[in-house]
């Protein structure tokens, strides 16, 4: 064994310090700093969350003798003119032979055993501090003693050699202490008159400098790896480069391999997208874990394998593995594992319904709701707060997806939030993301953005990287709605570089960037750019179902914008049928309906989209999908306009415009304003211009129409929707012309042309300067 199990030179120094403390050698001012130093170094098993706040980079760092110096130098000891460091080094150099080290450990029991009353009275010396056996320091001392007893002789020799090496830097302090200096590191050496370089010195201490000194014990390594694992598993990050180097340095010379290192490697490879080595490491880890004959490892191995397989898109294997996991967990009565795998399966069937069906998964229960109820009951039974909280969120999500009342979803959200607080479950990331989705569906966009901000500000360290990335992307999408493309892109591009090291997150961010760019390009009518972006955004580039939908939606809008209506129609039909098959989220289905209505409007047959738009409006009203409702109403308004029912259209639009202004989706505002301006113009046309009253009314309608046209123009301009903006300019020009104001009409027409040309210029410029 090259590495000691627990004891290191550093721990010996800590024990010396504990001795000092118990001897009441510390002045009271130094007690707290020294004790906190002791605790921070002796107790590694603090909960991971508490530790992550302190030193999230390394988790644990062995203290060098320098640390002792730093802590102790500042404090005066009870003896005037001496610092605590002097006191400490006197004790440390007082261990002047291997035998003295032995005595140090043998005498540790004195710290723990409180003498009986009369003995206490007999001893005239200053009062000592006795450690309770169960106190942290007491436990540390006891463990140290036990481990020393367990050591074989040559291992304890190694410890001694390591200690000699460890304290060597403090020799300069030692010089100041009279009486100790001559004995040096080993009293026997001094007695025998040996000097370094003699044959016997080489025989005894010759291996000091050559052999790697034991600075890290297996126990320390264990806690380091545990911390790394925790970080990896909880946050889904990769091992930072510098830490990877450190780990390698620690592990290599010892020749001693902990099996956790394979697990660390597994997660690292997994996140790096290296399927083969991840798979290899997984097997290696569990092969070594089998040494301990714990059969329980088997189901966890299967579970990991299932997740791993699914992550790399091998759904067949994943399902086989998860089925076996469930069977094994059931056999072994491992409720935790069983519930977790069921929950995971549920999640998978929801996220990838098509793939799962393709892989032959039939669903574990009749319906999804039953599955969730079952899981909830199980989680409650087993008191698994984490699972329960997650299941509640899933249920809320299901409510939303099926268009059930929002109040029920909110109820689940609050239950879950309560559980998070009560059971100290770190599920905030998911919760807040979900709330943000909920609010954005309700059309309260600012609240949704605020929640994402909150998540990033307050829970960044505690939540998984995945959730962070989603929050950032959501903020970015919010910004695009306001037309702040550059801001959104900058936000995404300045994401912490370390996140890029995880391949999935990197892909996700990249897709979002492309999507935002694509939307902008469509609005700018940069067709060439669109084609390139669409190619890179092929649905297979990401497997995230939401993103896939967004990409398809963007593609359809592109087709519509390019006036390739037949293709657009086919794409919409395809999308709609696939969504129906997957029994997808209601939000997505409404979106397709609206796309269809838009398509009909674009081809000049808005009335054909009437039923579609009506359906969309009624569904989204029921499910409280407010932005979609407004959109649908806008489409309806357009249809009414086309049918000549201007008054009805106006009333409809008047009713939704204030609400939609609140949500600050400028595309929507632009569309609605443009529609209402059409209605007003229609209304104006209905008035009889011959009568004075009619002429006045017409004038007022037209001025209102112009106002709305201006508003629509502003809105389109902010989102850089050139076609929309130009359309408004054209309307203005036509109005002016109708009014007989040729000059103004000409001006507007020129404006139109200028805008179009400016845009073309910008496109070509942008292409030459920044590419896409």
């Amino acid at each position: 064994m090259a590495t000691s199990r627990y004891l290191t030179a550093q721990k010996i120094s800590l024990l010396v310090l504990v001795n000092l403390y118990c001897d009441r050698a510390l002045p009271s001012s130094a007690t707290i700093p020294v004790l906190s130093f002791l605790l921070s170094k002796s107790i590694c098993r603090v909960s991971a969350a508490a530790r992550s706040r302190h030193n999230s980079e390394h988790g644990f760092s062995p203290a060098s003798i320098q640390d002792f110096e730093d802590v102790l130098q500042g404090h005066a000891s009870s003896m005037p003119g001496r610092t605590l460091l002097d006191h400490f080094s006197k004790h440390i150099w007082g261990i002047n032979s291997f035998d003295a080290l032995h005595d140090l450990f043998n005498n540790l029991s004195i710290l723990l055993e409180r003498p009986s009353e009369e003995e206490q009275q007999d001893s005239a010396g200053p009062e000592r501090i006795y450690l309770s056996k169960t106190s942290p320091l007491g436990a540390f001392v006891r463990r140290a003693r036990l481990e020393f007893t367990r050591l074989q002789f040559d291992d304890s020799l190694k410890l001694w050699a390591a200690f000699v090496e460890y304290r060597a830097p403090t020799a300069k302090w030692n010089k100041r202490l009279a009486g100790l200096a001559p004995s040096g590191s080993d009293v026997s050496i001094a007695q025998l008159g040996i000097r370094p370089g003699d044959a016997i010195f080489e025989a005894v201490y010759g291996n000091l400098s050559t052999e790697d000194v034991v600075l890290i014990s297996v126990d320390d390594l264990d806690s380091i790896l545990e911390f790394q694992l925790d970080q990896l598993q909880r946050l889904g990050t990769r091992v930072p480069d510098d830490m990877a180097v450190q780990l390698r340095n620690m592990l290599n010379p010892t020749g001693f391999v902990l099996r956790q290192i394979h697990l660390v490697k597994l997660f690292d490879a997994w996140k790096a997208g290296d399927y083969t080595s991840a798979f290899d490491c997984l097997h290696r880890y569990y092969d070594y874990a089998m040494q301990t004959r714990e059969k329980t490892h088997y189901q966890y191995a299967l579970l990991h394998m299932a997740i791993l397989q699914a992550d790399f898109g091998c759904f067949d294997e994943a399902i086989a593995a998860i089925n076996e996991t469930i069977a094994t967990a059931r056999e072994n009565q491992d409720m935790t594992c069983l519930n977790f795998s069921l929950s995971w399966l549920n999640h998978m069937s929801k996220a990838y319904p098509k793939q799962m069906k393709g892989a032959g998964y039939m669903g574990m229960l009749a319906s999804e709701r039953d599955g969730l109820t079952f899981l909830k009951a199980k989680a409650k039974e087993a008191k698994m707060h984490h699972l329960l909280s997650a299941t509640l969120l899933n249920e809320a999500k299901l409510c939303l997806a099926t268009g059930e009342p929002i109040s029920r979803a909110l109820e689940y959200v609050y239950q879950s939030a309560y559980l998070n607080i009560r059971g100290n479950v770190n599920n905030y990331g998911r919760l807040m993301l979900f709330q943000s989705t909920l609010y954005s569906r309700l059309g309260i966009t600012h609240l949704s953005t605020v929640l994402c901000d909150l998540l990033l500000h307050c829970y960044r360290h505690g939540c998984a990287v995945d959730e962070q990335v989603r929050a950032i992307c959501r903020i970015a999408f919010g910004a695009t709605q306001h037309g702040r493309y550059d801001e959104a892109l900058q936000l995404l591009e300045t994401v912490d570089r370390s996140i890029h090291r995880t391949v999935r997150q990197y892909q996700y961010i990249l897709s979002c960037i492309c999507l935002i760019k694509l939307r902008r390009a469509i609005r700018r009518t940069d067709w060439q750019g669109c084609t390139v972006l669409l190619q890179s955004l092929h649905p297979t580039s990401t497997r995230d179902p939401e993103l896939v939908f967004l990409i398809r939606e963007a593609r359809i809008s592109f087709l519509i914008a390019r006036r390739q209506y037949p293709e657009a129609f086919v794409a919409i039909e395809e999308l709609a049928s696939s969504l129906r098959e997957e029994s997808a989220d209601i939000h997505q289905r409404v979106t397709t309906l609206l796309l269809k209505a838009e398509l009909f409007a674009k081809v000049g047959k808005p009335e054909r989209g009437f039923s579609v738009a009506m359906r969309a409006a009624s569904v989204s009203f029921k499910a409280r999908l407010m932005p979609k409702l407004w959109d649908a109403v806008g489409r309806l308004g357009g249809i009414f306009n086309a049918l000549g029912e201007f008054e009805a259209a106006r009333r409809l639009l008047d009713a939704v415009i204030p609400q939609s202004l609140e949500s600050a989706d400028h595309t929507l505002t632009g569309m609605l304003s443009s529609q209402i301006s059409d209605s007003y113009i229609g209304l104006a046309g209905l008035e009889d211009a011959s009568t004075t009253q009619g002429a006045r009314a017409r004038a007022s309608y037209i001025s209102r129409a112009e106002m709305y046209i201006d508003r629509a123009r502003d809105a389109y301009k902010t989102v850089e929707d050139i076609e929309g903006a130009c359309e408004q300019l054209m309307k203005k020009a036509v109005l002016a012309k109708l009014r007989g104001d040729e000059k103004v009409a000409e001006e507007w027409a020129q404006n139109y042309n200028r805008m179009w040309e400016d845009n073309q210029e910008r496109i070509s410029e942008g292409r030459t300067v920044g590419g896409l």
């Binding site: 002047n96 032979s97 035998d99 032995h102 002789f153 040559d154 020799l157 080993d186 026997s188 005894v204």
Partner: protein, 648 residues
């Protein structure tokens, strides 16, 4: 003997060089190591060294050859050796790779006579087998003859190597078959199964020797001696070993075997005339005496003489240190050993003895240092394990100590001191049965280990089996006649088994022995008392015990006089005015106080109230047994009063 002439020294050098080569050829590594060490401990004489270097071709050429005197007679051997040189080299390399069976098969292929003789199955059958074996050789020659034929065609060197390889293979297998040390199956009786085969072949060979006209070189005798000794056929073994050292005296292994067969100093005296007269024999004499605890002036002198020839020999220095150790002169021994580790830090041999010395002196840091040194050199040597075990024992970690002694024994089952020390540890752990077994094994390995005998006795005393213990204490005392501790133990046992007179004799022996050690002069065994009195301080405990025994026999006057003697030890022998160097007495101890109380009561009973009063008052002054003394004073006062009353 002390001064060697140049020529003699050169001769010795050549002899030792030759010994190294010959022993190495036969794979007797330890013997060759010993010879080489001795060779290098000769004082370096520049002219001589340069001489050999200049004539290096000649010097190189000479050693491998057998000495010139024998050349003529060993012409056949040389011829044979030359003929089988290739095969011999092959066999030697196999041996060096520890492929013993393969090595043996180079010269002795095919089946060998197996177990036909069963010579060494048990010690009891030793004498029987001797006769039987002879009968077989002559009576049924047909079977062995077939096998012996190829053996006859071999040179002695080849035969030795193959048989030795066979022996080693047997040892290896024996070790593999042995159970865990002190495990349930470990009876310590696993035998080397190759012994009968080797024995049969060698017996044949030696029987045919006179007829073959060949001259034996001494190596085969050595091997045969070992085999016979293993079969507990010790007398014959001794014979063959003596023959071996006479034929070739630079094989230290033979001498070692010889000394292990010698149980008492008398046995040694007996074989001395049969030994050759040369320097190795002289060294043997010294080391055997050391092993028999003969630390007399004469041995010291001999050792000094040998040391003057080999001034830097670590082996001889160790002998000197051990002599001091047996003399209980620990400081001197420690000095020598610490010089030894300084001059050769990688030498582990006999460091276990050094650790014993440090243990007795209680020098923990030094012992820890020694353990560190030994462990760093080689942690899997029985000596190292013993040192570590001793260290743990000194730190009162007996379980760990036992672990290390056990490890030492696993490495070498015949490692004597580990057995004994493990026995001590078991006694400390109150595991008497294991202790007895350990001691018993130690004694089986080497019957000269008085500590094991003594330990056995002590353990039986703990078990209250005194007559049993008595036997062992007697053995110990026989081995160490000048150690008062042994005699005290004997006396104590006699007292326990109700033999006070014998007990008194034993205690008196102890007194004599004690004075012997204190004065450093070997005093004759006289009546004990007078000699003891003259020596210096006597052990008051022993005196008190003697007094108590006399009390038991009813000899009250003797008892009283011994009690007085106990008291006398308080002041020391100041009646002899020259007591300047002897120092004061032991002072007031619990023993002397007890003696004083006894005397006070005795005087009181005899009616010597004045003396009784004095003694009782002294007791009160010393502050020991005050209550008893005060009660006695009261009684005496009352008596005196009454007598006065009567007298009035």
């Amino acid at each position: 003997m002390s001064g060697l002439s140049q020529a003699e020294e050169a001769q010795l050098r050549i002899k030792l060089q030759e010994a190294v080569v010959l022993c190495t050829e036969r794979c007797l590594y330890h013997s060759s190591k010993w010879a080489a060490e001795l060779l290098n401990s000769l004082p370096f004489s520049s002219d001589d060294g340069s001489d050999t270097e200049i004539e290096s071709p000649q010097a190189d050429a000479r050693p491998p050859q057998t000495p010139t005197s024998r050349v003529a007679k060993e012409g056949t051997e040389q011829r044979l050796e030359a003929r089988e040189l290739n095969k011999f080299l092959l066999a030697k390399t196999y041996f060096d790779c520890r492929e013993y069976d393969r090595c043996a098969a180079v010269f002795l292929p095919g089946p060998l006579p197996k177990g036909s003789l069963q010579p060494a199955s048990s010690p009891a059958s030793a004498s029987k087998h001797q006769g039987k074996g002879k009968v077989k050789v002559t009576g049924t020659p047909s079977k062995p003859n077939v096998d012996i034929e190829p053996v006859q065609g071999l040179s002695q060197k080849a035969l030795f190597l193959s048989l030795y390889a066979k022996y080693m293979a047997g040892e290896k297998r024996m070790n593999e078959d042995s159970e865990m040390i002190l495990g349930p199956q470990d009876g310590g009786v696993t035998m080397n199964k190759e012994l009968p085969v080797i024995s049969a072949i060698l017996e044949e060979w030696f029987a045919n020797l006179p007829g073959s006209g060949r001259q034996s070189q001494g190596w085969l005798e050595y091997l045969y001696g070992i085999v016979l000794a293993k079969g507990k056929n010790e007398k014959q073994a001794l014979e063959y070993l003596v023959q071996s050292v006479n034929r070739y005296s630079y094989n230290w292994g033979a001498w070692q075997e010889l000394s292990s067969l010698l149980g008492t100093i008398e046995e040694m005296q007996q074989i001395l005339p049969h030994l050759p007269q040369n320097i190795v024999s002289f060294i043997f004499h010294v080391s055997a005496s050391q092993e028999l605890y003969q630390s007399t002036e004469q041995v010291h002198n001999s050792l000094s003489q040998v040391l003057s020839i080999f001034p830097t020999s670590a082996f001889l220095k160790t002998q000197r240190a051990l002599l001091h150790y047996h003399d209980k002169d620990f400081d001197e021994a420690e000095q020598i050993f610490s010089q030894l580790i300084l001059s050769d830090p990688h030498r582990i041999d006999s460091l276990d003895n050094y650790s014993n010395i440090l243990y007795v002196m209680g020098m923990k840091p030094r012992l820890a240092f020694l353990a560190q040194l030994a462990t760093n050199t080689d942690k899997f040597r029985p000596e190292t394990c013993c040192v570590v075990g001793n260290y743990y024992s000194l730190k009162s970690e007996h379980e760990k100590a036992v672990m290390y002694f056990r490890r030492a024994l696993t490495l070498d089952r015949n490692f004597l001191s580990a057995w004994t020390l493990m026995g001590h540890e078991f006694v400390e752990m109150k595991n008497t049965h294991a202790a007895i077994e350990s001691y018993r094994r130690a004694v089986d390995v080497n019957r000269k280990d008085y500590r094991a005998w003594y330990g056995l006795g002590q353990t039986y005393e703990v078990l209250e089996m005194h007559s049993y213990a008595l036997f062992y204490h007697q053995r110990a005392a026989a081995l160490r006649p000048y150690d008062p501790k042994m005699w005290m133990a004997v006396g104590q046992c006699y007292a326990k088994v109700n033999k006070p007179t014998a007990g008194i004799r034993a205690y008196k022996r102890a007194l004599v022995a004690g004075s012997h050690y204190d004065a450093g002069v070997g005093s004759s065994f006289g009546s004990g008392e007078s000699a003891g009195l003259g020596g210096g301080i006597l052990d008051p405990d022993v005196l008190y015990q003697i007094a108590l025994l006399y009390e038991r026999t009813g000899d009250m006057s003797e008892c009283a006089s011994y009690m007085e003697l106990v008291l006398a030890q308080e002041e020391g022998p100041d009646f002899e005015e020259m007591s300047g160097d002897v120092g004061g007495g032991v002072g007031v101890t619990p023993t002397t106080s007890k003696a004083r109380l006894w005397l006070a009561r005795w005087e009181f009973m005899r009616g010597m109230y004045q003396r009784a009063m004095e003694l009782a008052n002294e007791l009160c002054q010393d502050g020991v047994e005050v209550e008893d003394a005060k009660a006695l004073v009261r009684d005496i006062r009352a008596r005196i009063e009454r007598e006065r009353g009567e007298g009035r």
